[in-house]
Symmetry: C2
Subunit: 124 residues, 2 copies
């Protein structure tokens, strides 16, 4: 898998609330498939399908214990996804600053604005 394919797989894996919840659970420690399935009202095949999507993206790996095969989170692909998003940080920070500026303007008491001198001169 090249970088683009890895990003495809990671973003696709994250595009589902069950899979995001499974990752959140695994962030607290490894868990067997049964433990991972417990909070979800979902068939075993549906759970396995979600786990496969997470595995394909490299976001989880199965442990060596033959019985339990506990899954653990593998955070590196999340770092790659985050690095991709970081390129846009300047854009969203600017956009939030513009919004802050607008809100500040709207909250200011409505007093008539004094026109700058140069403008008055130009009007004559």
């Amino acid at each position: 898998m090249n970088t683009a394919e890895r990003l495809d797989a990671v973003f696709l894996a994250l595009a589902d609330p069950t899979r995001r919840a499974m990752l959140a659970r695994l962030a607290t420690g490894e868990a067997s498939v049964t433990e991972l399935a417990r909070p979800f009202d979902m068939s075993q095949p549906a759970v396995s399908k979600h786990l496969k999507v997470l595995e394909r993206a490299g976001l989880i790996v199965a442990g060596r214990d033959a019985q339990r095969r506990p899954r653990r989170i593998e955070p590196k692909p999340l770092a790659e996804a985050s690095a991709w998003l970081e390129r846009y940080r300047d854009m969203w920070e600017e956009s939030f600053q513009r919004l802050d500026g607008l809100l500040e303007k709207l909250q200011r008491p409505a007093v008539p604005e004094r026109r700058p001198r140069s403008r008055r001169k130009a009007d004559r």
Copy 2:
């Protein structure tokens, strides 16, 4: 759309190299559909479909110019996706540190390790 649905839509929109390339193009300034389609060897309906996925995720909006309807990027949903990923930053940073530690160990010249005093006592 609630937060989970918005995250679903944003991560799904990002799970495609064409859509990521379209966002990268729009990060340099607004563009018409024709301009956006130009670098891709793709039918008009395929391009429209990608734009719809981006629009549904709130990642692009269409401008008011009736003729061109230029698309521009709307970075706020990217900030939300980034904030979700940030929760895992500690995990991937720890994992990189472990890897750094391991690499350092491997690169160290192979001299026999001195066993600590307390350990020696315990061995007797």
